[in-house]
């Protein structure tokens, strides 16, 4: 039944493809909160997140005919929101990957094992992370992408994504332990 997830809201999506406004509103209502939170996690403020979410829905409805159920509608839409957020950060020249040279990451390759932490603390920890670290932690832990996908989103190699994630995770654990 795993493939069925791709066809969630299929009838609704098909109605939206014909440009039906009430179906569009229905689909929008189902996803707007989730997308707003995604935008908020990346951009850090309400105004920018609203702009990006608004833009993403407009784009999604306009390009809906190109959506062919290769993923669920939600995943497709989320990818649009994330790409727009990353682009927005790039235009504002906010670091999306830590500045340290990506090639010299042999030293801290070793994965750190850690136990479950209270989610409230995790949220506070993520909020305190420097910009470059925050994006990769969001992408991996909360948005649930793997390193291949993160590499595509950020425009870096898979190994860079892995090593940067480990570094970010180490930093996050440090911050949490100090809380």
């Amino acid at each position: 039944m795993e493939t069925d997830i791709r066809f969630t809201h299929q009838t609704l999506v098909e109605q939206c493809k014909t440009g039906n406004p009430s179906s569009q509103y229905e689909l929008y209502s189902l996803y707007v909160d989730a997308m707003f939170n995604v935008g908020l996690r990346f951009l850090g403020n309400k105004e920018d997140a609203e702009d990006v979410v608004q833009d993403s829905f407009v784009d999604a409805f306009k390009k809906l005919h190109s959506f062919k159920y290769e993923s669920s509608f939600g995943a497709w839409l989320k990818r649009i929101v994330i790409n727009k957020s990353i682009n927005y950060l790039k235009t504002k020249r906010v670091a999306i990957v830590p500045m340290e040279a990506h090639e010299f990451h042999l030293a801290d390759e070793e994965p750190i094992e850690a136990d479950a932490v209270d989610l409230q603390k995790v949220k506070m920890g993520i909020a305190k992370l420097p910009n470059g670290y925050k994006q990769i932690i969001n992408l991996y832990l909360i948005e649930g992408y793997d390193h291949v996908e993160i590499g595509e989103i950020l425009g870096v190699s898979t190994s860079t994504s892995k090593s940067q994630y480990h570094r970010a995770k180490k930093k996050l654990l440090e911050i949490i332990s100090e809380l």
Binding site: F57, A114, L119
Partner: protein, 178 residues
Amino acid sequence: MDNFEKHIRENTAQFDEHKANRDKLWANISEELHKPKTKVIPLWKRPLLRIAASVAVVLGIATMGFLLVPRTTMENQFVSEELLEIDMHYQSLVSYQVQLVQDNPNLSEMDKQEFLSFMDELDAEYETLRKEMRKNLDNERVLEAIVANYKKRIELIENLLRQINDAKKPDEDYGYTL
């Protein structure tokens, strides 16, 4: 994946704690989505405007046709205004100098005859070049040949005039040289 990661990934719903301002966002989105529709589509749906547009298109094509037909025949004669100007410039220059030669009293009838036969030859060459140009309009080599033809005539005339003047000089200077 360790417990830290698992715990977060299994509870990501808890990270979606904010609520979007639905109505405000939707207002902007639907405005953006309906912008092109309200502006463009109704125009084509009105039958009257369709007829008007068809009439405009037909009229446009007709006037285009009328404007283009005479222009193309003009273009058969002269590729461009520039060429026409060059042609006229040289033509007037040549005819002026030919007139000078014919009016010159210092030339013998035989010299004049020889010169004019030369000119007739060049005239014939010029006519064939013009015909050639009508066949292939944009041929630069033909255009260059026409210009060269004119230059040759002028050169010829200038040579003739110089000869006349040179012939005169020794006679005039004669008394002073010794």
